[in-house]
Symmetry: C3
């Protein structure tokens, strides 16, 4: 498979034309940034976690983003109900196992949620993906202690187990459906210095999966948008604070010319 910048630009235009509703059950740290990233790229975010309403809310949505970054018992039932409702309606679920491997509670909760409803995409860092695959690895809080390439076999195993796309983000993002594997090389060294950009990536994958049923391609497009906008933001930034501001602006202003100019062919094998 070969990605083409024309297709990415077309998907971006579809997001802007249709403003798909992306339902997020995510962590406290990133809610504001996630919502702003989705709005800026052209999607329509909603944050709702109560067990009483998530099934109703998710049926309005075109994608469901589940992110366990500030997990607590009270939120798990809302996540489980939303995932079941999304699964039943065929709404793609994007799952972000923040901090899996750091504590038994996180790893166990992820595995339990994934049993209930298979996601379209799992996006995590290398440590998180390895933890879900059962590899012995210690996540340092929510930061990875391994490179994305270290998690390749774990990613392949997870992709096969859940019949989903697995995206391991890192300096080079690895995206696989268990058969084909893409490597996205766009991005910038400032990105891990801003909290929650992995969570932003997960949310953008939701927006792109809402407009493109080829989940491997949609995920790759979202990760390229992250990387390209990261490069655009870094060119303006003087540190992680201004980077975050410019990144949101970059999502909003991203056009086909910028996509073409920053295009680095994702290696595929």
């Amino acid at each position: 498979m070969k990605l083409k910048f024309k297709n990415l630009s077309d998907d971006l235009q579809k997001v802007r034309d249709t403003a798909p509703l992306v339902h997020n059950i995510t962590n406290y740290v990133v809610m504001n940034n996630t919502a702003n990233a989705l709005l800026s790229i052209g999607a329509s975010p909603v944050m709702a976690h109560a067990a009483e309403e998530v099934a109703e809310m998710v049926t309005l949505a075109s994608a469901l983003v589940i992110n366990i970054g500030t997990l607590s018992k009270e939120w798990i039932s809302g996540m489980a109900i939303a995932m079941a409702a999304a699964h039943e309606k065929g709404i793609p679920i994007i799952f972000d196992p923040v901090g899996a491997g750091a504590t038994e509670f996180r790893t166990r909760t992820c595995l339990s949620l994934l049993e209930r409803a298979a996601p379209a995409v799992i996006r995590g860092n290398a440590s998180e993906v390895m933890a879900l695959a059962g590899d012995c690895v210690q996540t340092k809080g929510v930061d990875s202690s391994a490179a994305a390439s270290d998690a390749e076999s774990a990613a392949l195993a997870l992709a096969k187990k859940y019949d989903c796309v697995v995206c391991v983000s890192g300096a080079i993002d690895l995206i696989t459906d268990g058969r084909q594997t893409m490597r996205v090389r766009n991005g910038h060294a400032l990105m891990p210095k801003v909290t929650g950009l992995g969570c932003t990536a997960t949310a953008l994958i939701g927006a792109f999966c809402a407009v493109n049923k080829d989940i491997l391609v949609a995920t790759s497009h979202a990760m390229m948008v992250m990387g390209i906008c990261g490069e655009l933001a870094a060119a303006q930034a003087t540190g992680p604070g201004s980077f975050q501001v410019h990144l949101i602006d970059a999502f909003y202003n991203l056009n086909a010319e910028q996509v073409e100019a920053h295009w680095l062919d994702p290696e595929a094998k």
Copy 2:
């Protein structure tokens, strides 16, 4: 009634001189922005939601802002207790029914809270106001699927039902007490591209109601401040990320000259 920019500037000065405490029970997405908007305009924000303390906290405050944006069962009792305490003490309640109409849980919770203690102001988008008035409308997550003008009869009905001011924000904001209706035309197209600026407006209404007992005027002043500062921010911004930053700066720096220069007479009828 005719608004005058001199009166708006006087109210702004009162906010800065007295730094009224505005007690917020609001959603996770906007807490940081809301607090910063209140601080920048000159008020003093506090966020507290626990049933154990809200009655005590609200008696220190000059306004209570209730916003159901990330509603859960656990928060409803805190909201109800705070509203009852505010009502008893004569502290104005500003109510933001985020996402009413999107789910039955939100609509029902709003109506139940409003039954317990009438607010001074309800501020929502057109879909939310129509949902509260019992109109058949589907809110798309938390974004309106209708223009403010579509909600005029719903706003009038709500204003009469709760004997309060209703503010429907949109490209043209509609503000009514059921007898007089103001239309505020200030603002900028980037504003709906930043998450939670409606919530920011609700919080600013709290600050202005804290210093002006004429709730229709105070609400109109707050919405004009939002609109004028939005115009000032847009003149500096290159997208929604930088817009949010400049908006906070604009609140902080807003002066009488800027108010006069950006004044668009609100139509009243």
Copy 3:
């Protein structure tokens, strides 16, 4: 005792070289800013509050930050468990009693938590520190109604009671272990106009206590970094919105030359 800018720069370098994990149980308003401040200074933040995982998470960490800014019953047990685990492992606890004195619930919760596990550092504003020491003072929401110097005897009393360092932030920060008292004069008038910079200070104290076992010195270094970066940010800012952005950039870019150029000898007695 005399602080030296060389030692501060060395501690800063140690933070960057070792990226200590700082475990935060903090409030919703500041989570994003706190995480970004820690990342920018070179530390590695994690936010986790669930009773099910905090004991496991804190054992991975080099410091524990407890901040009661948006307190609720459900969070108290997580705080208590984390503090007990940190205490047992000798991990320094930095305690931020946000809004103590504003409500009985906050004051009582703080005192109860402090009974269970003595912190390395308590950092609050003057009202909060006075409230914990049992002085009759009314905190206005979360803002101080007193100057740091008013809280000196309260700070000394608390430092002796819990055998810890107490940091009272204000225009001049007062830092005492009950024997020696430092006064940090760096900072800028815009800082109280940005929400949660006290919370940011608390988190940075965590990062510096993670690399320097002399808690009085580590706390003073963190407060000087806050003050110096505040001055650097203010030189670029046009209001509180841009100040916050530049502050994060300043943390990231801070170097020995800037520390030396902005150095104001903390008075010690």
